[in-house]
């Protein structure tokens, strides 16, 4: 969904991703005094993202029902989890025979990035304390990207709310349609629908592979994820592959320290 934002959403600024926007806007600049962006323009941006991404709930509904979850289970996931990558990861892990704890752990780790989005948004939107428990449910990739791209707090609040509402309604409606459709189709694999999940992951991953650090992490994670598949219980290899992230950071830190050491010696 990040990939999609790059093209259609207000996040489109060359090859930047939400993470970039988040990094580069720290601390968020609130310019309430500047000429405001018209509310209608903000709503248009937000609707564009909300509608396009919201429709992809169909792919989730089909994948989830095709993985053996019931229509009710599929819809409860979209209603209560409401963060796409985690939902796809969970049904994929369950379909592969993972136990509920390792499956949920993988989905949870994928969801931790939302905490960092929330951190940015709480400063940008100045969410009142009473509203936070409700607003939290909509703190995801797309709402964050739209809100961070706005020039004022008012525009950011409108962008967040309109994106969140549109996406929530559409994502859940299309999840239901997809799940019902998958039940009607029967053998979803014959229709190639088992390829929807990995394609979604690839589309999310592609814009994140900006530098050698990200590519090295992805490469090691692929090797660990596939290499450990035959030896560890279902669901565990993905968690082990997550260790690629701290491993690459550690190796980088060591190399930086070694370079600094050599520079010191040469002086």
């Amino acid at each position: 969904m990040l990939a999609l934002l790059k093209r259609t959403g207000p996040g489109r600024r060359g090859r930047r991703t939400i993470a970039d926007v988040a990094e580069q806007t720290a601390p968020p600049v609130i310019r309430d005094g500047t000429p405001a962006k018209p509310d209608a323009a903000v709503v248009r941006d937000a609707l564009g993202v909300g509608v396009a991404v919201g429709l992809s709930g169909f792919a989730f509904g089909v994948t989830s029902a095709g993985s053996g979850l019931s229509v009710l289970q599929t819809c409860v996931l979209s209603l209560l989890v409401f963060t796409g990558a985690s939902q796809f990861a969970l049904v994929g892990a369950l379909a592969a025979g993972g136990n509920p704890f390792t499956a949920a752990a993988g989905a949870f780790f994928l969801g931790t990035r939302n905490a960092f989005y929330g951190l940015r948004l709480s400063q940008l939107l100045a969410v009142p304390k009473a509203v936070r428990p409700v607003a939290a449910h909509w703190v995801i990739d797309e709402t964050t990207a739209v809100a961070l791209a706005q020039p004022s707090r008012r525009a950011a609040r409108i962008g967040f709310t309109v994106t969140g509402l549109t996406l929530y309604v559409l994502w859940n409606a299309t999840t239901l349609l997809g799940a019902l459709g998958a039940e009607a189709i029967g053998d979803t694999a014959a229709w190639g629908l088992d390829a929807a999940g990995p394609a979604v992951f690839l589309a999310l991953l592609a814009p994140m592979l900006k530098s050698a650090t990200e590519r090295a992490t992805a490469g090691i994670a692929v090797l660990l994820g596939l290499g450990l598949l035959p030896v560890l219980p279902a669901g565990v290899p993905v968690l082990a592959a997550a260790l690629a992230a701290p491993a690459v950071l550690w190796a980088q830190g060591r190399r930086a320290a070694a370079t600094a050491g050599r520079e010191r010696d040469s002086r």
Partner: protein, 102 residues
């Protein structure tokens, strides 16, 4: 029942991390190392999940029609196709290759 346990844990866990970001004082999670780990963790998880759901079959690694579908998705991504087109390409090519009996 196991599925419901997994759904419950995921729903509660994912909601709490979302809420955490809105509740903690600014600056708590701002340490550079924490930020970089938070950026890299999804990269590792998404890469591993992509590979497993393309090449995994139970506890075995296999090459089947899904690999062709994923290649189609990769081409669509390089061509900067919209998200739904990327997913659609993967599904269509996988179905096509399977229909050919591969």
């Amino acid at each position: 029942m196991n599925v419901w346990i997994a759904i419950g844990l995921t729903a509660v866990g994912c909601y709490l991390v979302k809420l955490l970001g809105l509740l903690v004082p600014a600056g708590t999670l701002e340490r550079p190392l924490v930020q970089r780990l938070a950026t890299l963790l999804p990269v590792a998880l998404l890469a591993a999940l992509t590979a497993q759901q393309t090449f995994g079959a139970g506890d075995a690694v296999v090459l089947d029609a899904r690999a062709a579908g994923l290649a189609a998705a990769a081409v669509a991504l390089v061509l900067r196709a919209p998200f739904l087109v990327v997913v659609g390409a993967a599904v269509a090519v996988t179905a096509g290759v399977r229909a050919l009996g591969w």
